[in-house]
Amino acid sequence: MTPQQRAEALSQLRRMRVVSLIEGSTLLLLVLVAVPLKHVAGLTVATRIMGPVHGLAFLAYGWMLIRTVAGGGWSRADILRLSIAALIPFGAFINERALARRQAVLAAR
């Protein structure tokens, strides 16, 4: 891997981590704040706002995932883990740590 390729891979991993955190945070806000507010307090506006916000974050994550894995160097297990993590609460945060480790390994080369 040339220094230019490594720099690009590191930059892509950084972007992926940011999007992963945003996706995970909006999922938690939707599931743990907006949905209870809707059902307990009758505040439907909470899900009306957080639903589309999380939808967009999820789309951004999905796109960034395709963009990242299409660059090569990812196993099927990695791709599966990255995909499933986006669907479960707190999964994105576990993912972010895994991405940070991969970033650290790549930076140390």
Binding site: T2, Q4, Q5, E8, Q12, P52, G55, L56, L59, A60, W63, M64, L65, I66, R67, T68, V69, A70, G71, G72
Partner: protein
């Protein structure tokens, strides 16, 4: 009033995204020839990759954001034409992700050729855009 402004933003972003997407697809489709003469074309590929990162990709996110806002404000869900259109946009977005990664590889002088199916990407994009235009204007179902 906000609906019309959102619509204008959406259409402007669609025009930018689709043109950037076609440029990326055409560049990738002719990648083998471009890499063979890398010294002459490296700057061109790097310029297109930078344009994709700074303009085409952000335009795609604007397309999604403004488009979903329009669908909600206009109460277009769950019209069948919109669902089909969303499916096409998802496929185009995924294709864009792969093209962006390929452009990135090409700009780093990676000489491994792109997958053969990418030669058909420009035609697939034009067909997708044409289908979207029909769905949005005619609303056949």
């Amino acid at each position: 009033m906000i609906y019309l402004w959102l619509k204008a933003l959406h259409v402007a972003a669609v025009l930018i995204w689709s043109s950037g997407l076609l440029v990326a697809a055409l560049t990738t489709a002719s990648a083998s020839k471009l890499v063979a003469d890398a010294t002459g074309h490296a700057a061109l590929i790097e310029g297109i990759r930078r344009f994709d990162t700074r303009v085409t990709s952000p335009a795609m996110f604007v397309v999604w954001g403004a488009g979903l806002a329009l669908a909600v404000l206009g109460q277009w869900f769950p019209s069948p034409w919109l669902i089909v259109k969303l499916g096409i946009v998802v496929v185009l977005s995924a294709l864009h992700g792969v093209l962006a990664a390929t452009l990135s590889r090409l700009s780093q002088h990676d000489v491994s050729p792109p997958p053969p199916w990418m030669r058909h990407a420009p035609v697939a994009i034009m067909a997708g855009l044409g289908a979207i235009a029909i769905l949005v204007i005619v609303k056949p179902f």
